[in-house]
């Protein structure tokens, strides 16, 4: 027999991926919106990557900032969450291996949390209260990604 609080939280377990999408998506968008809308800020990001020994820093900055921004929007919308999570796992593995190599834990923590948050979303998918779920409910033809 389950207790009332446990039953309540089990009934609303579908909120978990939604909350995770909200916080990971917000962090990704918050951290990159100035880079993708201002070339000056993009060059600053490229300089940061160059200082950390990143190969092709400007190309890396553009690809990384835009992929984080677009994947953040996809997380928030709850659409193509698993492909977006896979892209973010590659992005943050590269960030941890190259840009944050040798950093103390507090400095690498945000990238580490984004990596694990994306990995969680890769397993859970978008969950309910997402565009993928709405499309699935409408078509009932394929499992939401």
């Amino acid at each position: 027999m389950t207790s009332a609080p446990a039953a309540f939280f089990a009934r609303h377990a579908a909120l978990a991926p939604t909350l995770l999408r909200a916080v990971v998506g917000f962090h990704l968008v918050y951290g990159t919106v100035d880079n993708v809308t201002s070339w000056h800020r993009m060059v600053e990001f490229a300089d940061f990557l160059a200082a950390h020994g990143f190969p092709w820093p400007l190309a890396g900055a553009v690809v990384s900032a835009w992929s984080q921004f677009l994947c953040g929007l996809l997380f928030l919308a709850g659409l193509w969450v698993r492909p977006a999570a896979a892209v973010m796992i590659v992005n943050f593995l590269a960030a941890l291996a190259i840009a944050h190599r040798g950093d103390p834990y507090p400095a690498m923590a945000p990238a580490f949390f984004m990596l694990l948050g994306s990995a969680s979303l890769l397993f859970s998918g978008a969950g309910r209260w997402s565009l993928a779920w709405a499309r699935y409910r409408r078509s009932s033809s394929s499992v939401p990604r």
Binding site: A22, V23, G25, F26, V29, Y30, V33, D34, V36, T37, L73, L76, A77
Partner: protein, 126 residues
């Protein structure tokens, strides 16, 4: 130059965009719990009427817990949809070449539409 840009902007869709923000904001204010979001939507509407000659800056009290919390709620409920619309408009206008100055204004409005409690549009300093 900014005045001419703003007049053309208003004629070619800026007025309707701003009006959409204002009406959306008014509707949110009617729900009472949506008043903080409604006020931000109206502020966005006013900014959308005349974006030429202005720049996006961080608000002075940025980073407070309440502002971040409201921004998370905003971005999850309304922000990403508005940002995608601005991005799509910017892409379409940029393709036309003559629409590039207007595309730049749409790109400028993206941070504002995503983080309205953290960013604001101010007259550019000369």
């Amino acid at each position: 130059m900014s005045l001419l840009g703003n007049i053309l902007w208003l004629i070619f869709g800026g007025f309707l965009s701003g009006l959409g923000y204002l009406l959306g904001g008014l509707f949110l204010c009617l729900t009472i719990v949506g008043i903080p979001f409604g006020l931000q939507s109206m502020r966005l509407g006013v900014a959308t009427f005349a974006p030429f000659g202005k720049e996006v800056v961080e608000v002075r009290q940025s980073g407070s817990f309440l502002r971040i919390l409201f921004d998370v709620l905003w971005i999850l409920l309304f922000g990403w949809e508005i940002a995608v619309l601005h991005l799509a408009h910017a892409a379409i206008l940029a393709i036309t070449i003559v629409g590039i100055p207007f595309a730049i204004q749409h790109v400028k409005l993206i941070p504002l539409s995503l983080l309205p409690f953290e960013r604001e549009l101010r007259a550019r300093r000369r």
